[in-house]
């Protein structure tokens, strides 16, 4: 947020530290639901916590909002982002400096300035190089608006004619404001930095109004050649020119010479990296949300404010995790020339807020948005929905024995489908929880065929799959194409206790005069019973503790409870990992754009990205309360027998409907002394379970 540390609080955007006490001059802010004037906040800190928050009159403040971060602007015509500033938001020094340096006669000329051209020519001839351009600010504006930058006489003449035309139609104040909002001031990858408002964020990470003399002079210096005077790449050049701007301003009596000298002593003050406030993939999602409700013409209303759910810190962590892990995977990889791609979606499950979207490892690039547009096979991410449908049938629980054995299914077209396990082994009778945790294909196909494809299709659509999948057996292994965002919508229901919440990026659209034009209120729809979801989520917890998600625990904070599922499509073309904690759901997809096999699985490809991201969020454990109609039981993970929790290292907790009788492991049961009779009875039930 770039609050500046000062000795005495003077203006918004500054703070003062005095021992354990922090005084902050909060900036004024417009929120979706209220406006807040500039105000003083005092924070008293303890050793590693906050003791109190008080306002300037010493009253306790129960809640403080930090001002919304401006993350971009949508210009339907240009399709580019800007931070448009009004004349009131411009430090008065800026227009004065621009005139002093770029266009001395701006206030009096009619668009072109013959005297200025002559002077520039004279200066340049003497210097033997171009030090001054003869173009007026108006001409520069025309050039930036309409024309290409070829230096031809014809272009110069057209530019001059248009500048004169502009001058007859607009006031000098309007032209200055247009200039300040339009002029090119830098390049950030594919993104052009236009206007001083955006440039201020780009170089200094703070609003234009808060820039001091040295900062303003640097921006004015950059006008002459944003690439040549790039303060990050060529700080020495930039500094020389900034100091020249300061000198010129002092010469023209805009500032005192002493102030110029003091400012010239200051470092450039630019942030090391362009402030990470450019999120093209997220903006893309926002734009699409709005396009659903608005025609382009309606979006052109000036000054609409759109409040989003983006959490910049989570977004930065998601970008970082993807970039870092893909870099590592590329190195470990068999195709040295091909670059892996990826996408990440992070939500806040209870609210359905989308808080981060990464559409490519090249995060600043406004190109193909994989999070929204890469439609890839769901792979094993489909399995939780199959197992949920099984639990809903009432015929299965987490300890139910299922057969992981070869299967042949005759298809409608006469062919025979013979799926295989990932390991090419079979595991025989296994409890349902293990089949899910180890992502056993054959067991899943047996369960799925028993439950019925139609029922599973309904479950998928209830959770948000937007299309009816082809009801073919390969659907059970994830032959359903989904985008990462669709996967996020579906998993959000699993993370949110069986309640579907439409994912949203936009909270509200507010008009220039502060009225809510469109709100996107929270909506919930129950799509599964709390009981079945709880049983499933506990099984997905075992994916992390004993199954394909296990490597994540080496990275995650100790004792953090998470639930998830890995996914790999055929020939390892797509790597997925979807998982959630108590407060975050993250979906990660990794693969090649041309659909080449990746050579690794969801556990080795997408899981490291997911784990690294989750570890960085300071997230909370998944800790839903167990519904009263369920009970916890401990079973032997390999066999599904009920065991005493302390009897074996394989003892695994599951949730089952209260009163469920489970067969006990001989010599390891919780109640061996109880009754032989009951064991015999339960063994009989168990055998019946196996048979059906």
């Amino acid at each position: 947020m770039q609050y500046r540390r000062v000795e005495r609080l003077e203006r918004p955007g500054t703070y003062r530290e005095q021992g354990a006490r922090l005084d902050i001059a909060l900036r004024p802010a417009q929120f979706a639901d209220e406006a807040r004037p500039a105000s003083i906040l005092t924070i008293a800190t303890g050793s590693n916590n906050i003791e109190s928050l008080r306002d300037s009159s010493g009253k306790d403040v129960p809640i403080v909002r930090l001002e919304p971060l401006l993350i971009g602007s949508i210009f339907p015509i240009h399709g580019e982002d800007r931070i448009v500033v009004t004349p009131q938001e411009v430090p008065p020094l800026l227009p004065a400096a621009l005139k002093a340096v770029e266009d001395r006669n701006f206030d009096t000329h009619h668009g072109v300035d013959p005297a200025g051209i002559a002077r520039a020519l004279w200066v340049d001839l003497r210097a033997g190089q171009i030090e001054q351009g003869g173009s007026t600010l108006t001409q520069q504006l025309v050039k930036s608006y309409f024309l290409d930058s070829r230096q031809t006489l014809g272009r110069k003449l057209r530019e001059a004619a248009m500048a004169i035309a502009l001058e007859t139609h607009f006031s000098k104040a309007d032209l200055m404001n247009a200039y300040i909002n339009e002029i090119f001031l830098g390049q950030d990858g594919d993104r052009a930095i236009h206007g001083f408002g955006l440039a201020s964020q780009f170089y200094f990470g703070k609003p234009l109004a808060e820039l001091d003399l040295s900062d303003v002079s640097l921006l004015v210096a950059i006008v002459r050649g944003p690439s040549y005077y790039d303060p990050r790449r060529h700080p020495d050049r930039a500094r020389l020119r900034r100091d020249l701007v300061l000198k010129l301003m002092a010469e023209r009596n805009i500032i005192q010479p002493a102030d110029a000298q003091a400012a010239a002593k200051k470092p450039l003050g630019v942030t090391a990296k362009p402030s990470g406030t450019y999120y093209p993939a997220y903006l893309d999602f926002v734009r699409r949300t709005l396009r659903r409700d608005y025609r382009n013409e309606d979006l052109t209303g000036e000054g609409l404010r759109i409040y989003t759910s983006l959490e910049p810190r989570v977004q930065d962590e998601a970008e970082h995790a993807l970039e870092h892990e893909l870099e590592r995977l590329d190195h470990a990889h068999k195709y040295p020339d091909a670059k892996l791609e990826g996408a990440v979606v992070v939500t806040s499950p209870q609210s359905g807020d989308v808080i981060a979207i990464v559409g490519s490892r090249n995060v600043g690039y406004d190109g193909f948005n994989r999070a929204l547009d890469a439609r890839r096979p769901f792979g094993s991410l489909v399995k939780p929905f199959i197992y949920l449908t099984a639990l809903e049938s009432g015929r299965y629980n987490a300890a139910t024995i299922v057969q992981d054995e070869p299967v042949s299914i005759k298809l409608v077209n006469g062919k025979v489908w013979q799926p295989d396990n990932f390991t090419h082994q079979t595991y025989g009778p296994v409890p349902l929880v293990r089949a899910l945790a180890e992502s056993l294909n054959l067991a899943t196909v047996h369960v799925g065929m028993d439950i019925g494809l139609a029922k599973i299709s309904q479950t998928l659509q209830r959770f948000g799959l937007p299309r009816a999948p082809a009801e073919v057996p390969s659907m059970l292994l994830g032959a359903i194409d989904v985008t990462p965002m669709e996967a996020a919508q579906m998993y959000n229901g699993l993370a949110n206790g069986g309640f579907k919440t439409p994912l949203r990026a936009v909270r509200a659209v507010i008009s220039a005069d502060g009225k809510t034009i469109r709100a996107f209120p929270l909506q919930v729809t129950p799509v599964a019973s709390p009981e079945t979801i709880y049983q499933l989520d506990r099984m997905m917890e075992q994916v992390m503790d004993r199954g394909t998600g296990k490597p994540a625990h080496a990275v995650l904070p100790p004792n953090l409870v998470v639930a998830g599922k890995s996914g790999t499509s055929s020939d390892l073309r797509d790597n997925w990992f979807a998982g959630f904690s108590g407060s975050h759901l993250a979906i990660v997809w990794v693969g090649y754009d041309d659909n080449m096999p990746t050579g690794f699985t969801g556990s080795s490809g997408a899981l490291p990205v997911w784990a690294r991201l989750m570890a960085s969020l300071g997230t909370t454990s998944w800790n839903a309360p167990m519904p009263e109609s369920l009970a916890q039981a401990w079973i032997d993970f390999p066999t599904g027998f009920q065991v005493d929790a302390s009897c074996t290292a394989d003892a695994t907790p599951i949730a089952v409907p209260a009163g469920t009788q489970l067969p006990m492991k001989p010599g390891c049961g919780a109640q061996q002394s109880n009754a032989l009779e009951s064991i015999v009875k339960r063994a009989g039930e168990w055998l019946r379970d196996i048979m059906h």
Partner: protein, 173 residues
């Protein structure tokens, strides 16, 4: 310069530092009724008596609102009184971002939806609250009352009566 739309990131309590300590301390105390399953550690022996164990119910909990949520709920009530239901709902949603698992907030939001004539959402929010309120008879009862009102508004009188009965039975003891 015509026609721009400014996009602002959400006004979140903690945008600046992401420092969780700025947040009012979470006041609710629903402790996990199970051990830390993340490490699959065995529970104490006492908990393994019945197969499958029906855990002896912990003493009833009582959800409360934290100071930040309390302030926001009070603000929402004012907004409701002045007839601005949309604003009131947005205020409760702010509180939910701080305490997403607090059933009392879901009941508040459900009440606002009910007042706004959206009985379907009121019913759903009541059920969401109910799922979160496990172990807190008071909150469960409030949730059932909300569900009963919503069902009645939907013309499902039989189910409404049943919901009302459950609400009553929870507060009886």
């Amino acid at each position: 310069m015509k026609g721009h739309v400014v996009i602002a990131a959400a006004a979140m309590v903690l945008l600046l530092t992401g420092c969780p300590s700025l947040r009012a301390p979470p006041p609710t105390f629903p402790e996990s009724s199970r051990g830390s399953a993340g490490t699959a550690q065995p529970p104490p022996a006492a908990a393994t008596q019945a197969p499958p164990e029906v855990p002896s119910r912990p003493p009833p909990k009582q959800y409360r609102l934290g100071p930040a949520s309390s302030a926001l709920v009070a603000q929402a009530h004012k907004q409701m009184t002045s007839g601005d239901l949309g604003l009131a709902a947005a205020t409760i949603e702010r509180a939910m971002r701080i305490e997403p698992d607090n059933p009392l907030l879901w009941i508040e939001l459900g009440r606002i939806r009910y007042t706004a004539g959206d009985a379907g959402q009121a019913d759903s929010m009541g059920r969401k609250a109910l799922a979160l309120a496990t172990g807190d008879p008071q909150a469960q009862s409030s949730a059932w009352h909300l569900i009963a009102d919503a069902l009645r508004a939907l013309g499902r009188n039989g189910e409404a009566a049943e919901a009302e009965r459950r609400a009553g039975s929870l507060t009886a003891h």
